[in-house]
């Protein structure tokens, strides 16, 4: 994989390289260079299979990480391309022209993370959710428990006690000045 990285760096300006396993590595790429790099990898380096496309929300850094995982079956290699994009008004170039299946991933990212992929087919159609009116649910700042509590009633009558607090109350709680 290191060899591949060395070859690629001669043609592309690449970021950090992380070797995870003998057959899996991750490379950080700038958003503007991604499309050309993917095309090169697909057409020249044999990475013909788009395994997945997904996002990671680094809320603290104000960034989304898009991960494009591609596979070279002949060489049994997996390469993950990491693209960091700004979290506000997140937008990224679509790759549905390279892999038709990518359109589905991009639809999902639009719906679940709120990342725009201009030009991607049927991007704005409902994919998984229906009538959703809150923040995109996979964003880190969307609290699913809070939303669930506010939206769906639960059965009443549940209560619990903390063992330490219960023992304090039962055994030695503040009895005041006797």
């Amino acid at each position: 994989m290191q060899q591949l990285y060395d070859t690629l760096t001669q043609r592309f300006s690449l970021g950090e390289f992380t070797r995870q396993r003998a057959d899996l590595a991750f490379i950080t790429v700038e958003a503007v260079r991604l499309h050309a790099l993917l095309r090169h990898l697909r057409d020249q380096e044999g990475f013909t299979h788009l395994v997945l496309l997904t996002a990671v929300d680094w809320l603290e850094d104000g960034q989304f990480q898009l991960t494009y995982l591609i596979n070279n079956r002949a060489k049994c290699q997996d390469l993950g391309l990491r693209v960091m994009i700004a979290r506000d008004n997140a937008s990224m170039e679509s790759i549905h022209d390279l892999w038709a299946a990518a359109a589905t991933y991009q639809r999902e990212l639009r719906e679940m993370f709120g990342i725009d992929f201009p030009g991607s087919p049927r991007l704005m159609d409902d994919f998984i959710l229906e009538g959703w009116n809150a923040a995109p649910p996979y964003r880190r700042d969307f609290d699913t428990l809070e939303y669930s509590r506010a939206t769906y009633r639960e059965r009443p009558g549940r209560e619990t006690r903390d063992p330490a607090a219960h023992m304090k109350q039962q055994l030695y709680g503040d009895k005041g000045d006797v």
Binding site: C76, W99, T144
Partner: protein, 390 residues
Amino acid sequence: MFELDRSQYPQKKADGTLDIDLTSGKYLKLWQGPQHPGITGNMAIELTVCGDEVVDATTHVGYLHRGFEKLMERRTFMQCFPIVCRICVPEPDFNEYCYAAAVEELAGLEIPELAHWIRTLILEMGRVNSYLMYLGGQAGAFGQGVIGQWTTYVRDLMLDRFEELTGARIYHMFIIPGGVRDNLPDGFAGRMEETLREIESVLADVDRVMFHNAVFKKRAVGVGVIDTAWLDSYGITGPNARAAGVAKDVRKDQPYLVYPELEFEAVTGKDSDIYTRADVRRRDLLLSLDLIRQILSRLPKTGAVMTKLPNVLHWKIPRGETYVRGECSRGEYGYYLVTDGSGYPRRVNVRGPSYTHSIALFERMVINANISDVAALLVSLHTYPPEIER
């Protein structure tokens, strides 16, 4: 089957969209699902038909969305383990394996040898179950209800084996990060052998009644052909790719667990139609039976099944990311796990093979198909909705 070349129909407008005027009265919108016998699981296909020919199709998913990837972000690494199997009902074990393997890789855990063998055994047992379900469904899509009656029966025998091994029928929750929960019970191999024989005898019947059946051949041969050129573009994996003649099998390509030690060849076909896909799966099922026998005859009899874990209540995993894949009955199943040094996964992404098969590929394939073939086409891709929407 159409007598004319229909591939140019419906025509496209200049902007690439289909030239379909719904108000013209020539077309009809038809929903297949979610409540429909001709659908796998709980999903829907929105068909636009002209006569009985499909001219446009949209797959609707999300009926089973529970937000696993979100829920896992607020569960500790051990707490995630019981929920992942719910992502796929007919073959839940792949979730358990991929998740456990990803966690172990990032946490730097080595699991005992015996656990590798038992994991492989479980995965192959799950594959058998999944294929048996499929065979029933594929035959059922053509109205052959009896195949489903037989295969569901033998699948249930396999569920009995699952139950005695794992303690549950459907959601086994057995492949735990760190190993597996237990060793094989006494006499398991013998009972498994009986089950395997029963399955083989039913498969022989299935071969005669389903695969050597004029009706089935008439309906399935030459229908729903997947072009090899589509494989990469649509991300096609598993039997769908192998039926097109490409020996894409993660068990061979990037062997995991104990597959390097087992003797087998990837099963392929060449015609890439419904019939070939069914046949590839049938032969892959026979292969799985053989693999189970190999595993049971070769696995270590004793030894630890779990490695020593840190206290799982405070288990933290250093920052990292990885992708772990396996070959499930439907294709490449994978988990992309990102950790950030805390006690919770930063992000988990589940790559189910149905994701590409039942949306991009299916919507492409079903154009110009006959309405009565839609169910069979969908089944022949062996898709399963919850792994699409998670």
